[in-house]
Amino acid sequence: MAGTLRKNWRGHREASQRGTEEPPLIKWLLIGAALSFCVVFLLLPLANVFAQALAKGWAFYWKSLAHPDSRAAIRLTLTVAAISVPLNVVFGLAAAWAIAKFQFRGKSLLITLIDLPFSVSPVVAGLMFLVLFGLQGYLGEWLQDHNLRVIFALPGIVLATVFITFPFVARELIPVMEATGTEQEQAALTLGASGWQTFWHVTLPSVKWGLLYGIILCNARAMGEFGAVSVVSGHITGQTDTMPLRVEKLYNEYNAAGAFAVASLLALLALFTLAIKTFLEWRQSREFARARTAGRV
């Protein structure tokens, strides 16, 4: 319905404002150029993943995915995401809450720090953890004495993933929380609700779509991270290979169809992420429109 409304509105505009429209020829040339760019850089790479994955038939595809090392990689990726995403959700909620609802000194510094992982190269991020926990690192000897493995093991992979995906939830939540303001919470507190009650019943519901959006993005990045994880994982087949690392290994073993088979799962994850994201945006704009009409009436 929104689509037809939009079209009518556009048609009306086109009829009344000829002076601000390009000639049809130029318009279609521009559309053509933009579309071909999008086809070459977006649609072809996507289609190619699935075409290559199935190049040797479905049987080979299933065999590649059922290979014990691939299964171990899938399991590891799911484990890492299951640990790091909740951690960052809790942190994202706490950080966004602190930033949006309170005034304090050093707030902009805090925001910059949260954004930091976005601007650091994943390889450099991995290196940071290697410097701390690696054998030549600051804590390396102590860890070895206590028989603890961080680097080239699950904890290191989780740490690197947490670092890389750290900003996603907080970034999505800060603007939403700032927009909702503090009146509702203050009302709840005045009516005698405890801090936790206010959080669960007032704050959380008001940001649920933004939160879901952040979780989806965070999860996609957590499962797909390559650079940082590659530095700290040690590439032990069947043990510390995540799905992206498994893709690289298969590719280096000249097993292109196998590499694409594992890659196709990650591409499906990306498509799924986009679908949820589009749905959430559609839902948000609908709620926004409803709120606006309600306000007018």
Partner: protein, 259 residues
């Protein structure tokens, strides 16, 4: 609040301090020697050169795509709009894998391009292609809201005053869009400098030819040369911080225009 700070220090500040501390253990002369070997210089040249070209390509095509998506309605517009974020959602390793197979001699695009002498896989051009892919959403997404809010009445005024469409675009529309395009450009450039996953697959990683700086760091690590890796990492970090500062200034400029 307290929890936020503790978590932040544990995950971000301590690792960061570790790296800086490691770098400080180096004498200035040693640092300079490690950070500016011939191989490192070649890697910086490729990293920054390819990132610059890719960011420019994104500024150009990103503006075009954003314009077409906001201004025109055509079949498939919504799908393309949703697909613009695809490079964000797709793991970089998969991006590199599929791009290199597209542009390889027997790939869907390579079979036409390679006979023409355009080799997209295992060349410096491949690095540019992969970086263009990962940076694609930045310009489009920073420009779209600005284009939406663009006041059509100003264009009407220009048209009424007798300006042609091209003149209106160059004289009226382009200056308003410029800050947003520059912000998108800088974001794409910053992302491209640190990019690793997609490049590994498409570049071939030949020293002095198609080796990027992050890959050289990984090579140093595989040789157990931690100090060498740290020196290179510091160079990259300083560059990303300078860019981050520039982006913040640009964003302040953009929001002033938006008001």
């Amino acid at each position: 609040m307290g929890f936020t700070l503790v978590y932040l220090s544990a995950i971000v500040l301590i690792p960061f301090a570790g790296l800086v501390l490691r770098a400080c253990e180096l004498s200035w002369a040693d640092f300079w020697r490690l950070a500016t070997t011939d191989r490192a210089l070649a890697a910086y040249r490729l990293t920054f050169g390819a990132s610059l070209i890719a960011a420019l390509a994104n500024a150009l095509f990103g503006t075009l795509v954003a314009w077409v998506l906001v201004r025109y309605s055509f079949p498939g517009r919504r799908i393309i709009d949703a697909m613009v974020d695809f490079p964000f959602a797709l793991p970089t390793a998969v991006a590199g894998l599929t791009l290199s197979s597209l542009f390889a001699a027997n790939g869907w695009l390579g079979q036409f391009l390679v006979p023409l002498g355009i080799k997209g896989a295992f060349t410096q051009l491949g690095v540019v292609i992969a970086l263009t892919f990962v940076g694609l959403p930045f310009v489009v997404r920073t420009l779209q809201p600005v284009l939406h809010n663009l006041d059509r009445e100003v264009e009407e005024a220009a048209a009424t005053l007798g300006a042609g469409r091209l003149r209106t675009f160059v004289g009226v529309i382009a200056p308003t869009l410029l800050p947003a395009v520059l912000t998108g450009f800088a974001l794409a450039f910053a992302r491209a400098i640190g990019e690793y996953g997609s490049i590994v697959f498409i570049s071939g990683n030949l020293p002095f030819k198609t080796e990027i700086a992050p890959y050289l760091i990984v090579m140093r690590l595989e040789e157990y040369d931690y100090t060498g890796a740290v020196a290179l990492a510091v160079v990259l970090l300083v560059c990303s911080f300078l860019l981050l500062g520039a982006i913040n200034l640009l964003e302040a400029w953009t929001s002033r225009f938006a008001r």
